[in-house]
C-alpha cells in the first residue's frame, strides 16, 4: 500500500521493513484508515455521539445548577429566619453585627423595632398607630414584593402603609401632608416620602429610619429578619449557630416560607430528574442505533479480517477500539457544546449563567464509551456466528 510505485521490493526487504516497525503500527493504521476512508459514515456516527453527549451534559448541568438557581428565586419570598427578643426586651445592641459575623456578609439581615404612637390631631390624643424603625436600604433588598411609590431618603421621612395613610395623612391634592405623632409625650413631625402596599400587616404601619426612630422613642430593635441562603440543612445549621451566639433571643424558622420552598423545590427536582433521565436515555438510543448500523455495515471488513486469519480477540479489540475512540472524541466535543447550551438556557430562563460543572465530565465520558462499546459488541456477537464466506459472497 505504501510502496513507492516502480520500485519492487523483494519479500525479504518487505519482511525486514516490517520487523523494524512496532507491532502496533498495523493496528493503529487500520483504525486511522477506517476513519479516513469511510469518513462520511464515521462522521454521521460521530455526530450522533456528539449530540448525545451534549444533551446529556446539558441535562446533568441543569439538574445540578437549577436547584441553586431556584433557591435564589425563592429568597425573593423574604426572610426564612426571624430573631425575636424575649418578651418586653430589646435585642442586644451588637445583635446585628453578630448575625452578620455568623452568616457572612452576603446574608441579608434586617432589624425592625416597634412602637405604638398616637396621632396628634390638635386638641386631644388621637388614634393609635404602629410605627416601625428599620434600615430602608436593607428592607428594600429583603422585601422585593413591597410596592413602594418612593423610598425615603431624608431624615424624618417615612414610608406610610396604604391603610395608615388614610388616617394619618389624608390626601391633599397630589401630595400628602406632613403629620405629627406622639410617643410617651414626645412629639415628632414626619413627612411621608412614599406609600407602601403589601396586602398584609405592613399596610397599617408607618416605617421610619432606625436612627430617627431611636432618637425619638429610645426603643432598640426587637426583631431581626434574616434571609439565610442554602439548602434546608444549611438553614437549620444557621439557626443553630444564631441561637448559640444570641442566647437571649428566640431564633425561629419562618415555617410558611421554608415548607413552601421545600415543597415546590422537591417537586421541580423530581420532574427535572425524570425528564433528564428520559432525554439522556433517548440520546443513548440514538447513538446505539447509529453505531450498530455503522458496525454492521462493515461486516465485509470483519469477514476479510477473519478470512485472513485474524483471531477473534484481535477483531473484537479492533472494533472496540474504534467505537471507544469515537465515544471519547464525541464525549469531549459534546461536553463543551453541552456546557454552552446549559449556559444559554441559564441566561434565557434565569437571567444568570449556569456555572459549568466539570465534575459531570467523567460521567459523560464513561457513559459515551459504555454506549459505544455496547453498540460494537452487539453486532459482532451476531456476525461471529456467520461464516466469513457467506458475508463475502454478499448474502
Amino acid at each position: 500500500m505504501s510502496s513507492i510505485p516502480g520500485t519492487l521490493l523483494t519479500p525479504r526487504q518487505v519482511a525486514d521493513r516490517r520487523a523494524q516497525a512496532p507491532h502496533s503500527s498495523m493496528f493503529a493504521r487500520m483504525l486511522l484508515r477506517a476513519a479516513v476512508l469511510r469518513r462520511r459514515r464515521a462522521a454521521s456516527a460521530l455526530l450522533a455521539m456528539i449530540v448525545a453527549a451534549a444533551v446529556a451534559t446539558t441535562m446533568m448541568n441543569l439538574y445540578v445548577d437549577v436547584q441553586a438557581k431556584l433557591r435564589t428565586e425563592f429568597r425573593n419570598y423574604g426572610a426564612n429566619v426571624v430573631i425575636v427578643a424575649k418578651e418586653g426586651q430589646s435585642l442586644p445592641a451588637d445583635a446585628l453585627a453578630k448575625v452578620e459575623s455568623v452568616l457572612g456578609a452576603k446574608t441579608l439581615a434586617v432589624p425592625f423595632s416597634y412602637a405604638v404612637a398616637r396621632i396628634k390631631d390638635g386638641q386631644s390624643d388621637g388614634q393609635s398607630v404602629v410605627v416601625v424603625g428599620t434600615d430602608f436600604a436593607r428592607a428594600r433588598q429583603l422585601n422585593h414584593w413591597w410596592k413602594v411609590s418612593h423610598w425615603p431618603s431624608a431624615p424624618n421621612e417615612v414610608l406610610v402603609g396604604m391603610s395608615a395613610a388614610t388616617v394619618v395623612s389624608p390626601k391633599a391634592g397630589s401630595s400628602r401632608q406632613p403629620f405629627e405623632l406622639t410617643f410617651q409625650g414626645k412629639a415628632i413631625e414626619l413627612a411621608p416620602a412614599g406609600m407602601l402596599q403589601t396586602g398584609a400587616g405592613e399596610d397599617s404601619r408607618i416605617y421610619l429610619d432606625q436612627s430617627d426612630f431611636q432618637n425619638w422613642t429610645g426603643v432598640a430593635p426587637s426583631t431581626i429578619e434574616v434571609a439565610a441562603n442554602g439548602t434546608a440543612v444549611d438553614v437549620e445549621a444557621s439557626i443553630r449557630q444564631l441561637a448559640q451566639v444570641l442566647p437571649s433571643a428566640d431564633v425561629r424558622p419562618v415555617r410558611q416560607i421554608m415548607e413552601g420552598e421545600a415543597n415546590v423545590l422537591n417537586k421541580t427536582r423530581a420532574t427535572l430528574y425524570a425528564s433528564a433521565t428520559l432525554v439522556v436515555l433517548t440520546s443513548a438510543l440514538c447513538v446505539l442505533a447509529t453505531l450498530i448500523g455503522w458496525v454492521f455495515d462493515r461486516r465485509r471488513d470483519f469477514a476479510i479480517m477473519k478470512a485472513l486469519g485474524a483471531s477473534e480477540r484481535l477483531i473484537n479489540g479492533f472494533f472496540a477500539a474504534e467505537t471507544a475512540a469515537l465515544g471519547v472524541v464525541g464525549a469531549i466535543l459534546g461536553f463543551f457544546i453541552g456546557i454552552g447550551v446549559a449556559a444559554w438556557i441559564g441566561r434565557v430562563n434565569f437571567h444568570a449563567p449556569v456555572v459549568p460543572r466539570f465534575s459531570v465530565f467523567p460521567y459523560v465520558l464513561a457513559g459515551s464509551v459504555a454506549v459505544a462499546l455496547i453498540s460494537a459488541v452487539l453486532p459482532i456477537e451476531l456476525l461471529r456466528r456467520v461464516q466469513p464466506a457467506i458475508i463475502l459472497r454478499g448474502e
Binding site: 444533551v55 410558611q256 413552601g260 417537586k267 425524570a274
Partner: protein
C-alpha cells in the same frame, strides 16, 4: 404490485422493521410524555405554590387601622366593621371558583386566660368546615389555606380525641409557646373569659399563632357577642402570572379588554370578583405570596419548555438514525429494482410508504406508551393525574410521520442515487 412489495418487505424483514419500529415508538413515547408534562406543569406547580398559603385577603371596606405588634392586637376587637359569615360561601359562585383552592375566615378576640387573667389573643377560624353553595358541597379552612400549620399531641400519646378540633365543637388548639407558658397539655380544660374550653392539640405554625389560642369561628363569635362576624378572609387561589394587562385599572378598560381581563385568572381580577360577591368588602392581594409565585412559576415553566425541546430533538434524531440505518442496508435491493427498470420515483415511493406505515404504527404505540409514562410521572411526583389532551394525538402522529420522513429522506436519496452496478456487485 406496489402494495405487494411493501407487504413482502414487512413480512420478510420483520426483525429489521421491528428495530426501526421500536426506535420510533420509544422516540414518540418520550416526546408525548414530555409534551404532556410540560403542558401540565404550570397547573401542577401552581397547586404546589399554594403551600405558601393564601394570596388574597378580603377585609371590610371601612376597615379601621390595625394596631398589632408581634401578633398581639392592641386595639379593642369590637371596634370597626365586620364581614358577614353568611356571605362567604358565595366565593364559590365567582367566575374563577375552580381556581379558588380554599378560604379561611379569621376573627381575633382578646380574652382573659386562667386564674391570673392574662390577656391572650383567641383566633376564630374554620379548620375544615363543610359548607355548601347551591348544589355544590365543599370543605374549606386553614388545613387547606395554611398547610404549614402542624398540630401535635405533645407527650399525651394516648389521648383518643387528640387532633384537629371539630368546627362545631368547643375544642381549641393551643399555640406552642403559649402552651409552654401556661403549662397546658392536650386534653386539659382551659378557662377562657369564663368559658370552659377543651384543648384538643398543640399548634405549631412558626408565626404569631404560636402565642395564641385558635378556636372554631363560632366560639370566637360567641365570646365577642357578634354572631356571624368575620374580620378578614384569607383566600388561596391559583393565578396566572401578572403581565401588562393584569395591572391595568378595570375602570379605564374598553368593554372587550375588560372582558378579557375579567376572564383571566389574574390575582387582580379574582380580587375584583371577590369584592363583587361579598358586600362591603375590599379584596387585596398579599404581595409577598402573589408577586413571587408568578416568577417562580414562569421560571419552572420556561425550564420545562426548553427541556421538552431537547427531548423532541433527541427523539427526532433517534428516529432519523434508526431509519437511515434501515434504508442504508437495503442498497442491493434498490440496485435490483433499478436494474429491473424502476424509476427513482417508484423506488422512493416504496421507501416512503414503508416509512409512513412504520411511523403510523410506531406513533400510535408510542402515544399510548407516552400517555402511560406521563400518568406514572404525574402519580409518583405530584400525586395527581397528568391529563393528556386528545388534541395532542393527531399532533403527535403528524410529528412522528414528519420526523420519520425527514430522517429517511437523506438516506433514501442516497440509496436511489447509488449506481445499481456497484450495489449489485456488493461494493458499498
Amino acid at each position: 404490485m406496489f402494495p405487494r412489495i411493501v407487504y413482502e418487505s414487512f413480512r420478510r424483514q420483520a426483525r429489521r422493521k421491528l428495530l426501526a419500529g421500536i426506535a420510533i415508538t420509544l422516540g414518540v413515547a418520550v416526546a408525548t410524555a414530555m409534551i404532556a408534562v410540560a403542558t401540565d406543569i404550570g397547573d401542577k406547580i401552581n397547586r404546589e405554590l399554594r403551600s405558601y398559603g393564601a394570596n388574597l385577603v378580603v377585609t371590610p371596606q371601612e376597615d379601621t387601622l390595625d394596631v398589632e405588634v408581634g401578633g398581639v392586637n392592641l386595639k379593642p376587637p369590637s371596634d370597626g366593621a365586620f364581614l358577614n359569615e353568611a356571605d362567604l360561601p358565595k366565593i364559590r359562585g365567582t367566575f374563577w371558583h375552580h381556581n379558588i383552592v380554599g378560604f379561611s375566615p379569621m376573627l381575633s378576640v382578646t380574652v382573659k386566660v386562667g386564674s391570673d387573667a392574662k390577656d391572650v389573643t383567641l383566633l376564630g377560624t374554620y379548620f375544615n368546615k363543610a359548607l355548601s353553595f347551591g348544589k355544590d358541597d365543599f370543605t374549606t379552612g386553614v388545613r387547606i389555606t395554611h398547610p404549614w400549620w402542624k398540630v401535635s399531641c405533645g407527650n399525651v400519646k394516648e389521648s383518643p380525641n387528640c387532633g384537629w378540633p371539630d368546627d362545631n365543637s368547643q375544642n381549641v388548639l393551643l399555640g406552642e409557646r403559649l402552651a409552654t407558658k401556661l403549662g397546658k397539655h392536650p386534653g386539659d380544660a382551659i378557662d377562657v373569659s369564663g368559658r370552659q374550653l377543651t384543648i384538643s392539640a398543640i399548634l405549631s405554625t412558626g408565626g404569631a399563632e404560636d402565642d395564641e389560642i385558635v378556636a372554631p369561628l363560632s366560639v370566637a363569635q360567641q365570646i365577642l357577642g357578634k354572631p356571624g362576624a368575620v374580620r378578614r378572609v384569607y383566600v388561596s387561589a391559583m393565578t396566572k402570572p401578572p403581565d401588562a394587562l393584569s395591572i391595568r385599572d378595570p375602570k379605564t378598560m374598553t368593554p372587550e379588554v375588560y372582558d378579557r381581563w375579567y376572564c383571566s385568572p389574574y390575582v387582580e381580577s379574582i380580587a375584583y370578583q371577590l369584592q363583587e360577591v361579598i358586600p362591603h368588602s375590599h379584596a387585596e392581594q398579599i404581595r409577598q405570596v402573589a408577586q413571587n409565585e408568578g416568577t417562580v412559576l414562569s421560571r419552572i415553566k420556561g425550564l420545562m419548555l426548553l427541556i421538552t425541546f431537547a427531548a423532541l430533538f433527541a427523539s427526532a434524531l433517534a428516529v432519523s438514525a434508526a431509519m437511515a440505518t434501515a434504508i442504508y442496508e437495503r442498497r442491493v435491493e434498490v440496485g435490483l429494482m433499478k436494474a429491473l427498470g424502476a424509476g427513482n420515483l417508484a423506488v422512493s415511493a416504496i421507501f416512503f410508504a414503508e416509512a409512513l406505515l412504520l411511523a403510523l404504527v410506531g406513533g400510535v404505540a408510542g402515544f399510548s406508551a407516552g400517555a402511560l409514562l406521563a400518568h406514572q410521572i404525574g402519580r409518583s411526583i405530584f400525586n395527581s393525574q397528568i391529563s393528556i389532551e386528545p388534541v395532542l394525538f393527531p399532533i403527535i402522529i403528524a410529528i412522528a410521520v414528519f420526523v420519520t420522513f425527514a430522517g429517511s429522506a437523506a438516506a433514501i436519496r442516497r440509496a436511489v442515487k447509488f449506481d445499481p452496478v456497484f450495489a449489485l456487485r456488493g461494493e458499498g
